[in-house]
Symmetry: C2
Subunit: 204 residues, 2 copies
Amino acid sequence: MVKNPAKSQLMFDALYTYIENKSSMKLSDDERKLVEESFKPKKLRKRQYFLQEGDVCKYMGFVIKGSSRMFSVDQRGNEHVIRLGLENWWIGDYESYKLLTPARFNIEVLEDTELLLVTNEQMQQLMDRIPAVAAMVKAMDERGAIATQQRMHAAISLTAEERYENLAKTYPMFLQRFPQNVIASYLGISAETLSRIRKNAYQK
Amino acid sequence: MVKNPAKSQLMFDALYTYIENKSSMKLSDDERKLVEESFKPKKLRKRQYFLQEGDVCKYMGFVIKGSSRMFSVDQRGNEHVIRLGLENWWIGDYESYKLLTPARFNIEVLEDTELLLVTNEQMQQLMDRIPAVAAMVKAMDERGAIATQQRMHAAISLTAEERYENLAKTYPMFLQRFPQNVIASYLGISAETLSRIRKNAYQK
DNA sequence: ATCTAATCTTGACATTTATCAAGACTACAA
DNA sequence: TTGTAGTCTTGATAAATGTCAAGATTAGAT
């Protein structure tokens, strides 16, 4: 199934490194093998969808390369970006993945993207069998909880301009990698308002 | 130290029930004893602070009885409610608790409140020794991640009126237990705007 | 029961942000 | 290189929400 074993190996190396870093533990060769057997490589071309609203999100994807946005579409047809994804991040609708409910969100990749996919059951097995994976998931959950609390705080407490400055400080790479209309949606403002905020900031 | 053993026992019963429900596991008598030795009962009177900005949040508190709000104060002196707490919820600044950094938030109880306190280290030990506690924490983390994603979505995607209706559906008890100015702050709007939204909704 | 402080409502007005429309700029495919 | 679609900027205007101030209502304390 894997067309290019050499390249695929590089993809897994990125995942091993990630697990070892997040867990502060080493993976044995056997454990690496287990991981490799559980994750499925997947490529998506620019503009393709990783997930469509209404489908069940069967997989979480570990991003080897590429960028993506998770968004909802409201009644008026406006899109709202909930999350952005880059290399070494996970993408997926967590609620749908965990509960196997229809996803509320769409996930579209914005550049050609390489992923490693894993189901919830596979992940549970890996956590049971590999301490480093269990530790990684725990560390991720903690970081995730902290990050969302911070973002919640920003969303409620800050003005649009402050939210932009906050983003520029916290995730400067976002401004490099994502077009402005996507950033605007992530901040919960219109593209025009962001354009004006940037103009103001520049003049200061 | 405990002034009223009989009453204190009732407090722990609430916690045991909570752990058993969340984990879908039973606690043995020995395990209950371990839990009881780790948690410290605490009472706060209306308006007292559980945590003040700048202090380290040494404890997470499991709420037996009472209500609380976690909020930040911005440069202009405006308060922003990040989280609300009721019976059978946990309160605390998770970031400060985990990383032992100064808290960004204040937590004030709005009614006379009874809590059970636990430090991060104690919690880690309990998780290591009691499978039900480990399972409870995992279940809580998952629920928490899902709930925050939903709230994030609401904050970014919905209008003020839609956010209020969403809250009324999701947490109707909030509207019973918290004054409107607190609810308004939780929704990220002014008390006046919430008052007008309610007037509108009533007229429909 | 009365007083006081807190909460809630309402109106007038200010500010922020969205919306719509047009044109400028950019990137990429043919 | 040119054309085309996507992106970004700018202006005019509309809509949503905030701010301030005053009065009404409610809850608690004495």
